[in-house]
C-alpha cells in the first residue's frame, strides 16, 4: 500500500539562535519521555521529529539555554 506523509504542526519549538546542540548538547533529546526530539543533520540544532508529545515539559525545563518552548498541541488547544 503506498504511503503519503501527513502534515502536522508540532508543539515543541526550538530557538536555533539559543540552541547549543551544535556544541554537543543533547539534553532535550536525552530527557524526552516519548523520544520525539532529534538533532537536525542540516542545521545541527534540536527539533521535534515526531508529533507524539505529552506536553510534559522536561525538554523546556532542563534546556540549559532556554531554547525550548513547549506549546499545547493544536488538537487540544
Amino acid at each position: 500500500m503506498p504511503l503519503a506523509s501527513y502534515q502536522t504542526s508540532v508543539p515543541v519549538v526550538v530557538d536555533d539562535a539559543k540552541c547549543i546542540a551544535d556544541k554537543g548538547c543533547t539534553v532535550c533529546v536525552d530527557v524526552c519521555p516519548l523520544d520525539v526530539l532529534r538533532i537536525s543533520d542540516m542545521t545541527n540544532k534540536a527539533y521535534m521529529a515526531y508529533d507524539e508529545c505529552w506536553y510534559c515539559m522536561p525538554c523546556e525545563a532542563d534546556c540549559p539555554t532556554g531554547a525550548v518552548t513547549v506549546n499545547i498541541p493544536y488538537l487540544l488547544r
Binding site: 523520544d35 538533532i39 507524539e52 505529552w54 510534559c56 515539559m57 522536561p58 499545547i72 487540544l76
Partner: protein
C-alpha cells in the same frame, strides 16, 4: 551513524536483580535491592530516560494516600480502601502498605523531597477521601525525580536507558530467567539474564483514545502503553480484576487532573452547570465516576471544578502548585483559552479508559510481598494489583519488591532458558522491519484505540463487546501480518501497539467474564446491572493457559480489618440527596 537507523545486533548481559521501568516504583525497587546486598548487580532498564520517565516525569503535587500517625491509622485506611473497592480487596497487602508508608515518607524527606508542614513542623495532612484524612500536599514536588536519581547514582545502580523490554524469559520449570529488550534508537536486541525480575512498567494509559483525537494527549504518561501487562500475560502470570477500569475526571481536552485533590481542601468543589454540588466527595472511585458520568448526560452538565468563590490569595496558592508541579502545562492551557480561575470555573470531562491500580484495582496479581504467580517475578506500582496505590504506593510496594527480589536472587542461581525462545522473540520484534510494504504503526494504533472507545467504554453492553472483539481481531491480523516499521523509532511504536492490542483483548475478556456490575462506572454492565455478591464477591484472575486467554474466580482473603454491615455501602452513597 544516524539515530533511528536499524542495526542488526544481539548481545547478552547478566545481573542478579533486573528492574524494568525507571519511573516511580522502579527506582525505589532498584535502590532497596542494592542496599540489601551491595555486592549484587542491579540493573534498572528504562524505555525512556530514568531522569524524566514515568508518571512523575515533572514531579507530583501531593501524596494522596499518606497514613500519618496522629491523622490516620493503618486500620482506618485499610477499611476505607476496602469499602471504596466494593470489598474486593486482599487486605494484607493494603494493610502492609499502610503500615510501611510513613517510614517511606520520612525516607523521601531525607532524600530532600519536601512535604507541606504546618507552623508546628507537623505534616499538614488534608481530607479528600470519604472517611479518613490522607492527602499531604507537595508544593515543591517538582524535585522528586532529581532526588531519586541522586540516590540511584550514589548506590551505583546500573542504568540502561532507551531499552524497551518486550518479553520475559523463563526456565522449563517455570522460574524467571531474564528478559529480552530492544534498543529504541537502533533496534539492537539485548538479552538480560537475571535471577529475579521486578516489573514496574506503569499503567496501560494508551488504551482508550482521548476525545481530542490527539493520540498522545492521554491522562497517563503516553509512554505507559501497557507493556508490563502484556509481558506478564505472555509469561503466564495472573492478572487481577482487569474489568475494573481506570476512568478519571479531568480538565476537558487537556486531559490532566484539574485537580480537586489539591484545590478541594482549600474549598474548591465539583459543580454542575447550575453551580451546585452533586457528589459528596471528590475522591476518585468508580461510584463517584458513575455520578460524574450521570451528571454529564443528565442535561445538568457540563461539570466544572469551581474555585472562583475562593479568596484571590487562596486561588494564587492553588495556581502556584497546579501550574508548577506534575502537569505544569495546565497553566499554559488555561491561559490559551483565557480561563482565569478567579472568574471562571474549569470545564471537566471524563477520561478515556485504561488499566491502573494507582487509582483503581486492577493489575498483575501480587501478594503482600509483591510476588506475582511466576516464581522470581515481581510487580509494583501502577501495573500491580494493590488497589489505589498512587505515587506513595509505588514507592512503598517498590521497596517491598526490591528487598524480596534480592532475597530471591541471593537464594537462587540463574535459571536456564531455551535459546529458541530468544530467536523466536527476535523474529517477532523485527518482523515489521522486514516488510517492504504495509500499514504504519500509528494507523493501527489509532484504529485499535478508536475501537476501544466505540465498543469497550462503559456502560458495557455484551453485544457491543462481542462486536468489538471481532473488530479488534481484524486489527490484530493487520498488525501481525502487515504492519511496517521503517526505522527504530517506528519499531518502538510498533511494539507498543502490540502491548495496546493485548490490553484491549484482556479488557474485553475480563469484562465479559464478570457477569454483574461493580465498582460504579468502572464495571457497569447493562446486561447485568446489579451487584451480585452471591456469585461475584471474588477477584477474577486472567492468565494465558495452553496459549489461550482464560479467566477464573479467586476468593477474597479473609479480612484482617473487619467491615461492619452498615459501613459496606458508604461509597455507594456518593450523590448528594435533595433535602426537604
Amino acid at each position: 551513524m544516524a539515530l533511528d537507523q536499524i542495526v542488526d545486533g544481539l548481545s547478552e548481559v547478566s545481573c542478579d536483580v533486573l528492574v524494568i521501568g525507571g519511573g516511580t516504583a522502579g527506582p525505589m525497587a532498584a535502590l532497596k535491592a542494592k542496599l540489601k546486598n551491595p555486592k549484587a548487580n542491579v540493573v534498572l532498564l528504562e524505555k525512556a530516560n530514568v531522569k524524566r520517565s514515568g508518571a512523575i516525569s515533572m514531579g507530583m503535587d501531593g501524596l494522596n494516600n499518606a497514613v500519618i500517625p496522629g491523622y490516620a491509622t493503618p486500620e482506618q485506611y485499610t477499611k476505607e480502601i476496602t469499602i471504596a473497592n466494593d470489598g474486593i480487596v486482599d487486605q494484607k497487602a493494603v494493610y502492609k502498605y499502610a503500615q510501611n508508608c510513613y517510614s517511606i515518607i520520612e525516607e523521601l524527606d531525607s532524600f530532600g523531597i519536601r512535604f507541606l508542614k504546618n507552623e508546628n513542623g507537623d505534616y499538614a495532612v488534608k481530607k479528600v477521601h470519604h472517611i479518613g484524612t490522607y492527602v499531604l500536599p507537595m508544593p515543591n514536588g517538582e524535585t522528586v525525580k532529581k532526588a531519586l536519581y541522586r540516590q540511584l547514582r550514589r548506590a551505583r545502580i546500573l542504568i540502561s536507558n532507551r531499552y524497551m523490554a518486550t518479553r520475559l524469559l523463563k526456565s522449563a520449570d517455570g522460574r524467571i530467567a531474564g528478559a529480552i529488550s530492544v534498543n529504541t534508537r537502533t533496534a539492537e536486541i539485548l538479552v538480560i539474564k537475571a535471577k529475579s525480575v521486578i516489573l514496574c512498567m506503569g499503567a496501560a494509559g494508551r488504551l482508550g483514545l482521548p476525545t481530542s483525537g490527539y493520540m498522545f494527549g492521554t491522562y497517563e504518561n503516553a509512554a505507559n502503553s501497557g507493556d508490563g501487562y502484556s509481558m506478564a500475560y505472555h509469561a503466564g502470570a495472573a492478572l487481577a480484576n482487569l474489568e475494573c477500569y481506570q476512568i478519571n475526571p479531568l480538565i476537558k481536552d487537556y486531559n490532566g487532573p484539574a485537580c480537586a485533590y489539591v484545590a478541594g481542601p482549600f474549598g474548591a468543589f465539583t459543580a454542575n452547570n447550575e453551580g451546585s454540588r452533586f457528589i459528596e466527595c471528590d475522591y476518585w472511585s468508580g461510584q463517584m465516576m458513575l455520578e460524574f458520568y450521570n451528571e454529564l448526560l443528565s442535561g445538568k452538565g457540563p461539570v466544572f471544578l469551581q474555585l472562583k468563590h475562593l479568596h484571590p490569595n487562596t486561588i494564587e496558592e492553588i495556581e502556584s502548585t497546579l501550574h508548577k508541579v506534575e502537569r505544569p502545562t495546565r497553566g499554559l492551557f488555561q491561559q490559551g483559552r483565557g480561563v482565569d480561575y478567579r472568574n471562571e470555573s474549569i470545564e471537566m470531562h471524563i477520561s478515556e479508559i485504561g488499566f491502573c491500580s494507582g487509582h483503581s484495582a486492577s493489575g498483575v496479581f501480587v501478594d503482600d510481598n509483591a510476588r506475582t504467580t511466576v516464581p522470581g517475578l515481581y510487580a509494583a506500582g501502577d501495573m500491580a494489583s494493590v488497589p489505589h496505590n498512587y505515587m506513595l504506593g509505588a514507592f512503598t510496594n517498590g521497596s517491598v519488591a526490591g528487598i524480596d527480589a534480592m532475597e530471591f536472587a541471593d537464594n537462587h542461581d540463574f535459571a536456564e532458558f531455551d535459546a529458541a525462545d530468544v530467536a523466536r522473540e527476535r523474529d517477532r520484534v523485527m518482523a515489521p522491519t522486514k516488510r517492504e510494504d504495509g500499514i504504519p504503526p500509528n494507523q493501527i494504533e489509532y484504529k485499535t484505540r478508536r475501537l476501544v472507545n466505540d465498543y469497550l467504554q462503559p456502560p458495557k453492553v455484551t453485544r457491543k463487546y462481542e462486536l468489538g472483539m471481532r473488530r479488534l481481531a481484524e486489527a490484530r491480523e493487520d498488525m501481525q501480518e502487515r504492519m511496517i516499521a521503517r526505522n527504530a523509532h517506528e519499531l518502538l511504536r510498533a511494539l507498543e501497539v502490540q502491548s495496546i492490542m493485548d490490553c484491549a483483548d484482556m479488557a474485553v475478556h475480563a469484562s465479559l467474564y464478570r457477569e454483574e456490575s461493580r465498582w460504579g462506572l468502572y464495571h457497569w454492565r447493562t446486561d447485568f446491572p446489579e451487584k451480585d455478591n452471591e456469585n461475584w464477591f471474588c477477584h477474577t484472575l486472567l492468565s494465558k493457559q495452553d496459549g489461550k486467554m482464560t479467566s477464573e474466580k479467586r476468593a477474597v482473603e479473609p479480612y484482617i480489618v473487619p467491615i461492619a454491615d452498615d459501613e459496606k455501602d458508604l461509597y455507594d452513597k456518593q450523590r448528594i440527596r435533595a433535602t426537604a
